[in-house]
C-alpha cells in the first residue's frame, strides 16, 4: 500500500494549483462554517481582531469552537491547552501517516506543508498516495484553499452578524463528515482493510463512550494501526 521508492513526494506549482482547485468547491462550505464560527465567537464576546487572528493562526475549527465554550472573563490555561491538544491530536497521526513521503523533502518543505494540514486535504493526499499518485501538492494546495476560506469565512461572519443563522438546517454540518466518508469509500477496499476499519470503529466507539472526551480518534486510529501490523498485507499483492 505504501510505496516510497518513487517520486510521489515531489510537487511543483502546478500540482499545488491542482490541489487548490480540487478542494475549492469544498472550501465554499468551509467558508460557511468559518462564518458560523465568526458569529459564535462574536456572541461569546471575543473582539473582531482576536476572532480573525484565531482563525488565521490556529486554523483548526473544532478546537476553536471548543475554546469558545471555555471563554469567559478569564480562561484557565491548562484546560485550554489540554482541550486544544486533545481535539487536534489527530494531526499527530496525520503527520505520521504522511511521513513516508515527507521524509524525502528538505526540512523547510517538510514542516512547511504541514502548516496547512487538516482533515480534508490530508484525506485527499492520502487517497492519492494510496493509488500511487503524487499527493504533497494536493496537501499544500488543498490546505491553502481551506485555510483561505476559513479565514475569509470567519471574517464575513464577524462582519455580517450571522447571514446564515442555522447551518445545521441546511445540512451543512455534515459536509466534512460526508467528505471524509467519500474518501474512505473511494479508496482501496479489501477484506483486510474492512477488518481494520471494524477494529478502528469499535475502539473509537468504546473510547467515545468510556474514555475522556476527544480521545476516540486517537484510540480508534491506533487500534486500527495495530490491527494492521497483526494482519499484514500479503507481499505478493502488488
Amino acid at each position: 500500500m505504501i510505496d516510497v521508492d518513487n517520486k510521489l513526494h515531489e510537487f511543483d506549482r502546478h500540482m499545488v494549483w491542482v490541489g487548490f482547485a480540487k478542494l475549492a468547491p469544498i472550501s465554499l462550505f468551509v467558508a460557511v462554517f468559518g462564518a458560523a464560527f465568526g458569529l459564535a465567537a462574536t456572541q461569546a464576546g471575543l473582539s473582531d481582531t482576536v476572532i480573525v487572528a484565531m482563525s488565521t493562526l490556529v486554523f483548526a475549527g473544532a478546537s476553536q469552537f471548543a475554546a469558545l465554550e471555555l471563554w469567559g472573563p478569564d480562561v484557565s490555561l491548562i484546560t485550554l491547552v489540554i482541550t486544544v491538544f486533545a481535539i487536534n491530536a489527530r494531526h499527530l497521526l496525520m503527520g505520521a501517516t504522511l511521513y513516508p513521503w515527507l521524509q524525502h523533502l528538505p526540512l523547510a518543505k517538510r514542516y512547511g506543508v504541514m502548516l496547512v494540514a487538516s482533515d480534508a486535504n490530508w484525506a485527499l493526499s492520502m487517497q492519492a498516495f494510496g493509488s500511487r499518485q503524487p499527493g504533497i501538492g494536493l496537501l499544500l494546495g488543498g490546505g491553502l484553499a481551506i485555510w483561505l476560506s476559513w479565514v475569509i469565512g470567519t471574517w464575513l461572519g464577524v462582519l455580517s452578524g450571522g447571514a446564515i443563522q442555522s447551518p445545521k438546517a441546511l445540512g451543512l454540518d455534515m459536509v466534512m463528515g460526508c467528505f471524509l466518508l467519500a474518501m474512505v469509500v473511494g479508496g482501496d477496499k479489501n477484506l483486510r482493510l474492512l477488518v481494520i476499519w471494524i477494529v478502528a470503529a469499535c475502539a473509537s466507539l468504546l473510547a467515545y463512550r468510556f474514555l475522556p472526551e476527544n480521545s476516540h480518534v486517537v484510540v480508534g486510529a491506533v487500534a486500527g494501526g495495530i490491527a494492521g501490523t497483526i494482519w499484514t498485507e500479503s507481499k505478493h499483492e502488488h
Partner: protein, 102 residues
C-alpha cells in the same frame, strides 16, 4: 493558572492555541523522523491512515441524529455507485437538509 481575556490577554490565548495546534501538526512528523520505517511500521501507518477517518466517523454515525446517519448512508451509496466524491457529498448534505425540513 488563568489568563484574563481583556486586552492582550485574549491575543496571548490565541497564540497559545496556535502553538499547541502547531505542536500537533509538526509532532507526528518529528517523532517519525526517529522511527526506522521497516515493514511493520509501514503496515501500521498504512492501516492507521484509513482508521483515523473511520474513528472520526463512527461516533458521528452512531451518536448523530437520523439526518446525520441518512447523510452518511447517502454519501456512501452514491460514492459506491458513481465513484465521484462531489456528487456523493452533495447528495449526503442534501439528504440531511431535506430530512431536517420535515
Amino acid at each position: 493558572m488563568s489568563i484574563e481575556t481583556t486586552g492582550l490577554g485574549a491575543l496571548a490565548l490565541v497564540l497559545i492555541m496556535a502553538f499547541v495546534t502547531l505542536v500537533t501538526r509538526w509532532g507526528g512528523v518529528y517523532v517519525m523522523s526517529f522511527v526506522p520505517i521497516g515493514y511493520r511500521v509501514r503496515q501500521f501507518i498504512g492501516a492507521m491512515s484509513g482508521s483515523v477517518l473511520v474513528a472520526l466517523l463512527a461516533p458521528m454515525a452512531l451518536q448523530g441524529d437520523n439526518a446525520a446517519r441518512l447523510a452518511l448512508l447517502t454519501t456512501a451509496a452514491t460514492m459506491l455507485l458513481l465513484k465521484k466524491p462531489l456528487p456523493a457529498i452533495a447528495a449526503g448534505v442534501l439528504a440531511a437538509a431535506l430530512f431536517r425540513q420535515f
